[in-house]
């Protein structure tokens, strides 16, 4: 028996749906095994079964050849299964060590033995090259280090099999490289890894084998050697996938968005956008590349009127909007696909129809003398649902029950339908599957071709490179460089994003 984990013919149902149907996942000792599938394919359900959060209706689980019943996460821990969650479960104002020992504190005569814990943490950190400072507070360390703390947490609890849930979602290219090194270190020390992801590149880079699931069904397991991005994508989606974004060269016209010397404060009164200059012209897509937390969020909020401007000037199509409230900005011709669709983009408890009208409900013919005409509203919603292919059983279905891709399509329908001069798309494809990403990218290009200015803000370098015509790199609240998208690469952008200078001779700022 050389499998450390065997999940055979797992079936898990929820009222009305089969989340996992006859899925088999077999992980060999010492390998990195990818679990690939679109959003909603059933990856998380399967891992929650393994982690003891759900009980399967059918199928068996074997750990190191022995059949086991995992009925709660503690049992999973005892079996040496550890999970590195996508959303970190850390107490912000505790130190690294305190977070790691939380729940299994070593004690001496009833008191927590922090000294010993710190020593242990340091030891594990050194052994796997995690480079974590045991005494640092979580709130003071980078996202990448927070993730390493999560990894340490599972190791501290004696994990032999580590599950990584979409670990690269919020990391910079450099941090991703580091993470890959760490994974290799873990394998060298005899651990096994399950990597949940929908990023094909990563699988090709680090994994040994890959199990694909599609709509709850196990499609199969393949060796990564010999697989290609398109072969894996085809298994995942069930059809051929077009990766490159098809577009003609841009023909930029007048300046639509003009940002001059903009300063914006964050919640701590720190100038997070620091004398920033940026222009976006009609008929071009400008991608804003940068590591999360360099002022992108605050910049967008200032552009859309959600955050006050401290100094500087924003003008859109010639009129100054620096002091506008959100509605006036919208009416000045701005469409905004917000980066957090659940926080800003949708009222999840409203119907999908109500959400589609969220920016226009107050206008005629939907509202007349303060009274809403729901018939007209839903008529309009129905139209857009059809036009933008939002898959929903009904226009009166609550937005909450739609998949992420369809929620995002609804937002895009709402924002694009108003024909805005400027379209701000903040991480428009975050967490979406290949099909939805294709759709959204083509819509952005379509808007550009209609002569609109598009500002694309994304943490995914691939996306910025593929979709944009120009790329502006933001670092510490400033645009450090603007480059043509077809004359740069991931390497150069990564360097610029980390605050490095462009090679001498080329620098023109």
């Amino acid at each position: 028996m050389d499998y450390v984990i065997e999940m055979n013919n797992i079936r898990k149902e929820f009222p009305g749906i089969v989340a996992n149907d006859n899925i088999t996942l077999q992980v060999k000792q010492g390998e990195i095994h990818a679990l690939l599938g679109e959003n909603g394919a059933g990856k998380s359900t399967l891992m929650n079964v393994l982690f003891g959060l759900y009980q399967p209706e059918r199928g068996e689980i074997k750990v190191r050849g022995e059949q086991v019943e995992i009925n709660d996460p503690n049992k999973a821990n005892d079996l040496g299964i550890g999970m590195v969650h996508q959303h970190f479960m850390l107490v912000q104002n505790f130190t690294v060590t305190e977070n790691i020992i939380l729940g299994s504190e070593p004690t001496r005569r009833g008191a927590v033995n922090l000294k010993k814990a710190e020593k242990d943490v340091q030891e594990i950190s050194d052994r796997y090259g995690l480079r974590v400072d045991p005494k640092a507070k979580i709130e003071d360390i980078s996202v990448g280090m927070q993730q390493r703390v999560e990894i340490l947490k599972t190791l501290y609890r004696g994990a032999e099999i580590l599950i990584f849930d979409e670990p690269t979602a919020s990391l910079t290219p450099q941090e991703i490289k580091e993470l890959i090194n760490i994974m290799h270190n873990l394998i060298n020390e005899g651990k096994s890894i399950i990597l949940i992801t929908h990023k094909l590149k990563e699988i090709l880079q680090v994994c040994d084998r890959c199990t694909v699931i599609r709509r709850g069904q196990g499609i199969g397991t393949v060796d990564v050697e010999g697989a290609t991005e398109s072969s894996l994508a085809e298994m995942m989606v069930g059809r051929e996938v077009n990766f490159s974004v098809e577009k003609t060269p841009a023909s930029p016209k007048d300046v639509v968005l003009d940002v001059q010397d903009l300063v914006v404060e964050d919640a701590r009164k720190y100038d997070i956008v620091d004398h920033l200059n940026l222009q976006v012209r009609a008929g071009e897509i400008v991608g804003l590349a940068g590591v999360d937390g360099n002022g992108q969020t605050e910049l967008i909020e200032a552009l859309t009127g959600l955050r006050p401007v401290k100094s500087g000037k924003i003008s859109i199509s010639g009129s100054e909007t620096s002091k506008y409230k959100p509605r006036k900005v919208t009416e000045a011709g701005v469409g905004h696909i917000p980066q957090d669709r659940h926080k800003h983009g949708l009222v999840l408890d409203f119907t999908i129809g109500e959400n589609i009208l969220l920016q226009t409900y107050y206008q005629k013919p939907f509202s007349n003398k303060g009274i809403l005409n729901y018939n007209k509203m839903y008529e309009k919603a129905k139209e857009l649902i059809e036009e933008y292919d939002v898959r929903t059983p009904h226009e009166k279905t609550p937005a909450r029950s739609l998949s992420g891709g369809n929620q995002q399509k609804a937002i895009i329908a709402r924002e694009i339908d108003r024909s805005p001069d400027l379209l701000i798309a903040a991480q428009p494809t975050r967490g979406l599957d290949v099909g939805a990403i294709e759709f959204i990218h083509s819509k952005l290009v379509e808007e550009r071709d209609k002569g609109r200015a598009v500002l694309l803000v994304s943490l995914e370098l691939d996306e910025v490179l593929n979709v944009s015509d120009k790329i502006a790199v933001i670092y510490e609240g400033k645009i450090v460089e603007v480059v043509e998208a077809d004359q740069t690469d991931e390497q150069e952008l990564g360097l610029l994003m980390a605050g490095g200078q462009k090679e001498a001779g080329e620098a023109t700022t």
Binding site: P338, L346, Y361
Partner: protein
């Protein structure tokens, strides 16, 4: 669609199951304390429906409960917890009565005037915590609780100093401002049922109209569900917070006017809270913050309070039992998650077979 239907059924099932469970628990308590639950509940039912008088009194009791329920629900729809309905109702009661005493107008003008005065007082009392919340982010629960005490003691003091007539109360309101109805009273064997009942029923329609038909209602509900998305969509979150607390207070104040102009015809020095406002929280919760649900929940609670008398008189069950049952209903509704879970379990078991 499956989901929508499912949620709708759940919304109905949970209150019904909660009521049944609460009555079941009440029966157990009766058995434990040596009473026969069947005779006990029979007495309760006949205490509500037995005579026209009891039924009239039930409707009279439910009238202010509808208003306080609407008040709580309206604020809740905008994401606010208005614990101050009690105080808003007290100032509404007092103001409506004073408006009914100090001016003389034709009935058709005087009644709306006095009710409006009560509603306005309640609205102001609700607007203050709304404003503090919107402007300074002071939590509305704390402010509204405090303002309940201010309301009670200020009105008590005003009555004592300026309006004391006989004993502990003000003068009776002018006939032109009274909601009393000889017709309704005679119809129900001289109960205190008054025109206010129909005003309360109309108020249910008003809330439904504001929330589900008006542009403002759309915004209020949007703010209640998600402030960030509402702000993003260009709505004024602060304005809507103040507005919802104002309208909520107006409902409460109008409820007070019903008590003052209808049930009693005067305001008196209150030794303690009326509890009508606090019961409104229970009514809104059981009614799931919907107009129809509030109407039915107010009927249930009004009936239980009325029927409790008969339970003691004919079955010897102490009236506190009704309070226990009411508390248990709230307990079960509030723990609706558990009931939902249980229903899901049963449903999925059936699905397996």
């Amino acid at each position: 669609m499956m989901d929508a239907v499912r949620t709708k059924w759940m919304g109905l099932l949970i209150p019904i199951i909660s009521i049944l469970l609460a009555f079941l628990a009440g029966a157990v308590i009766m058995v434990l304390s040596g009473n026969n639950p069947i005779t006990g509940y029979a007495a309760l039912v006949s205490g509500i429906f037995g005579t026209p008088y009891d039924f009239g009194e039930t409707l009279q009791r439910m009238t202010p409960l509808i208003f306080s329920g609407l008040a709580v629900a309206f604020a809740f729809r905008a994401g606010l917890l208005n614990i101050g309905v009690e105080g808003q109702l007290i100032v509404g009661w007092f103001t409506a009565v004073i408006a009914g005493i100090v001016v003389d107008l034709p009935t058709l003008i005087h009644i709306p005037f006095a009710i409006a005065a009560g509603a306005l007082a309640g609205a102001l009392w609700g607007a203050v915590p709304g404003f503090l919340k919107a402007r300074f982010e002071v939590h509305e629960v704390i402010v509204t609780i405090m303002m309940n005490y201010i309301a009670m003691h200020v009105t008590n003091s005003l009555i004592r100093t300026y309006f004391l007539e006989s004993g502990q109360r003000t003068a009776i309101v002018n006939e032109s401002a009274s909601l009393e109805s000889t017709f309704l009273s005679e119809l129900t064997n001289f109960s205190r049922l008054h025109w206010g009942f129909f005003i309360a029923a109309a108020a249910c329609v008003v809330m439904w109209f504001i929330l589900w038909k008006m542009k403002r209602g759309f915004e209020l509900r949007s703010v209640g569900y998600n402030k960030n998305a509402s702000m993003y969509a260009g709505m004024s979150v602060k304005g809507n917070i103040v507005l919802s607390m104002t309208i909520s207070g107006a409902f409460a104040g109008a409820g007070g006017a019903m008590v003052g102009l209808g049930t009693y015809g005067y305001a008196n020095i209150l030794p303690a809270f009326t509890n009508i406002g606090f019961d409104g929280i229970a009514v809104a919760l059981l009614g799931a913050s919907t107009s129809i649900g509030i109407f039915l929940a107010a009927f249930l609670f009004g009936g239980l309070q009325q029927g409790a008398n008969m339970m003691q008189a004919t079955a010897g069950v102490s009236p506190e039992l009704v309070e226990i049952v009411i508390a248990l209903i709230i307990f079960f509704v509030a723990s609706g998650y558990v009931i939902r879970w249980a229903i899901d379990r049963i449903a999925s078991r059936k699905g397996e077979k």
